[in-house]
Amino acid sequence: MNIIRKIREHVRLIVQITFTALSNGYVNGFLQGTIYKGTSKKICVPGLNCYSCPGALGACPIGSLQAVLNARQYQFSFYIIGILMAIGAFFGRFVCGWLCPFGLVQDLLYKIPLFKKLRRLPGEKYLRLIKYGVLLLFVIIFPISIVNIVGIGTPWFCKLICPSGTLLGGIPLVLKNPLLRETIGVLFSWKVLVLVTILVLSIKLYRPFCRYLCPLGAIYSFFNPIALYHMEIDQTKCTKCKVCQKNCGLDIPVYEKPNAMECIRCGKCIKVCPHDAIKSSIMLKKSEK
């Protein structure tokens, strides 16, 4: 019974670890410093998971979106946009809370009991808008518009910002490949600096990358208000005591906005609500009163 209780208390962590392990299960890649080349890499995993991670068995949706936009013959990616729409319409930002490997990394770092924890940074409302700018500029506009002489673009988000690519791809591959080690330069140093900044900030502030920079979280956030996976407040039970907001890592007033765009569906509010007023559900629900 104790074991079952422990599993129930940590079910999200178990799902996160399991999914990360399964989607990055090509162990040979880590051992030999190479990457998986199988056909499963046509399929995008739902979270931010660099396809140059030695263990990656699928493709990163943001990297793939840029790859198709970079290609000369396409200006719009039906395939990737369709995948993102399907995942978003089903899950919204549930992916961020339960299935994203880099989200898991941030969650684990936040558990470290160093530094006084912050709930938000100054200018939080405006900082959270940055990720939409990152999506628009680095994922969409730059890859389409900044092209070389033969018309091929660059994945600017992956190149300049993505910490997942550095942590899960760059560092393991550079460590294992002497040839790659010889070629690292300013760009690698910049990316490591971005990564370290986010990792250190993750100890003090819950999920800084997801809040401020992640373009995939930005995309899924549009679906939160209408996704099939949603949360509901039982207004007959809710006393607006704000215990949900006080315990929310992202400081969301759940009692007012159960399907806020920022919510990553971690479920903590459901656990802490003293009146059992918050429920999560998927698929069809009765009309809200």
Partner: protein
């Protein structure tokens, strides 16, 4: 209210499936595969 919102989600899902089929027919999945099976030097901070 949620039924109306569910309709939106189902509509988006339908459009998503159509988009995926169009994308596969256009060869976009092959583009993804071609990119994903090579080490992305930009992604890892080299290129």
């Amino acid at each position: 209210m949620w039924f109306m919102k569910n309709k939106t989600a189902y509509l988006i899902l339908m459009i998503a499936v159509i988009f995926i089929v169009i994308g596969i027919n256009r060869g976009e999945a092959e583009v993804v595969l071609t990119k994903a099976v090579q080490i992305c030097l930009e992604c890892i901070g080299i290129g």
